[in-house]
Symmetry: C2
DNA sequence: TTATTTTCATAGTTTTAAACTATTATAGGA
DNA sequence: TCCTATAATAGTTTAAAACTATGAAAATAA
């Protein structure tokens, strides 16, 4: 059993076809056939049934595929990590949810990453669930994530900042003078929300369902500027993080009652090797507990 | 990077010596040197410093060794599992602590394993901590373990039976008539205990320290028969599982006050593939919740 | 210091195995 | 029935991994 044999096997499974797999691997078809045959000889059982029209995985093949994917992923990781160390240039693959990116990234780039000229930063912007999957697959090293889905023992994290979720309206809106507001007050207001995939939206909808209200959702969007512009037009009520209002003077935020806040953490997998650049970022976050917060307010 | 290269690298690390590693691997020394050189070329960094007296792992080498051991262990598992499936003969590697073995094994062999003639059972008898390590290293498939060290989320288990820990004395002993006894009553008695590595012993000692007593331990042994014989000689007081007294009519057990019991579970790693023979054993345990208990009493 | 031993790297050769090309066999579809 | 698609087989080439032999560097001993 060699890693190459397993790679070929995986490719055949993905394509359900030896010839296509060979093409994708840039090798000849008999080489792939050979590799599969050698695996079958070594293990003593068929991995595919070839009787019928198509290749179908046997019980043994299914099990091997599952274990193979794990092994190859780990092998690729070793390769990547070792090459990175060898090439001296550090790479940090960081996941950031769209909303938090606008807060955290400017601070990180001006106060942290610029201190490491040899550091190459790759930012992956994705939803929270998407980032979690990327982390699990080792496609990113760390991510900023709301500490909501309680992370199990296989995750490490350091707290970054606590963000306030506020209701926001135009300065000329009827509710603009309120010092705080509860969801029940908003049950008949037309609302603009971020899409369901944003977990803040989920919490707001849960809040409504908790008081047995069906909110009047006029629009759900993924664009912050859409929310800002529609709210500024005075027609509707929106929700966003308080810090996002700093840059839009035409809007005012009204704290929710009860308050709703989000603890954002920097998260990574426990079983992963913590590279130098990861360690540096963790240190920066730990040393500036309010750094990202205060910077946003400056 | 191939699995063989990593295997050679690991061997060199283990022997701190290329020549010895080559000998252990049954290949020539230049082959090993070559493999290491190829890894270093591929990764772009030295894995050892050879300048000085001996081979010393570099930072990169240390990291690679750590990741390599994981990868090779997983690769060996794949190999073993697939070969096992291919050879049709099933193998179950079961870990059993010495005390529990005398209870569980006869039941398992007469009521369960005998139903699977093609099944080959390997029993590993070891301490609880030893078994846990064997499980972690995938050197055994499952083990019977007291459910004391609370198992984290990376472990699966099914409860097997609850065993009573009792104080035991000879039939003619002064305390033989007691219906129950507390540790404080025993603070001046000469005791015979199993070695500290037995977790029941640890619990008894904890119990004594809890009431600020230093027990008078005359003898600690790993042999059940030693405990039985010394206790039977009427000189000392011992502790054991109640079921172990069934076969020794010259001894009587006195329940502890408060009672002390041990929940024994069948445990395995969550990330492991559950083979047919493992599944069969789990089913047997589930279907006969008191089977092992009652059998011991018959 | 100098000789001796240990140990790893290098050079050159052999062997093995993995890749290739060409062809055959088998099944589905026209 | 023929044609096409696809995998297996045969035979050859190539590449890499093993070997033997030797050289270089450092540690050990005289």
């Amino acid at each position: 059993m060699t890693l190459d044999q397993l790679r070929y096997f995986k490719a055949v499974c993905q394509h359900d076809n030896v010839s296509l797999a060979a093409e994708a691997l840039n090798i000849s078809q008999p080489s792939v056939s050979n590799a599969i045959a050698n695996l079958e000889k070594e293990f003593g059982s068929a991995l595919f049934t070839r009787q019928r029209k198509r290749l179908v995985l046997t019980k043994e093949g299914t099990l091997l595929l599952e274990m193979t994917e794990q092994l190859l992923s780990q092998a690729d990781n070793i390769n990547r990590i070792m090459r990175e160390m060898g090439s001296k240039k550090q790479i940090l693959r960081l996941g950031v949810p769209p909303m938090i990116g606008s807060l955290a990234l400017p601070v990180l780039f001006t106060q942290h990453f610029n201190r490491y000229p040899q550091l190459q930063v790759h930012i992956a912007e994705d939803s929270n669930s998407g980032l979690k999957r990327l982390l699990a697959d080792n496609q990113i090293d760390m991510a900023f994530l709301p500490h909501i889905h309680s992370f199990g023992s296989e995750w490490c994290s350091v707290p970054v900042t606590e963000l306030q979720n506020v209701c926001c309206v135009s300065k000329t809106h009827r509710l603009a003078g309120r010092s705080k507001i509860c969801l029940a007050d908003l049950k008949d207001e037309p609302l603009v929300l971020f899409k369901n995939s944003f977990f803040q939206t989920q919490r707001i909808l849960e809040g409504f369902s908790h008081i047995s209200c069906t909110p009047n959702v006029l629009l759900d969007t993924a664009q912050l500027s859409t929310v800002q512009n529609v709210v500024a037009s005075n027609a509707v009520v929106g929700f966003m993080f308080e810090f996002l209002l700093k840059s839009t003077p035409s809007l005012v935020g009204i704290p929710l009652d009860p308050p709703m806040s989000t603890l954002v953490s920097l998260v990574w997998k426990k079983d992963r090797h913590v590279s130098e650049s990861m360690e540096n970022l963790i240190q920066f976050i730990k040393e500036t507990p309010n750094g990202i917060c205060t910077a946003s307010q400056g």
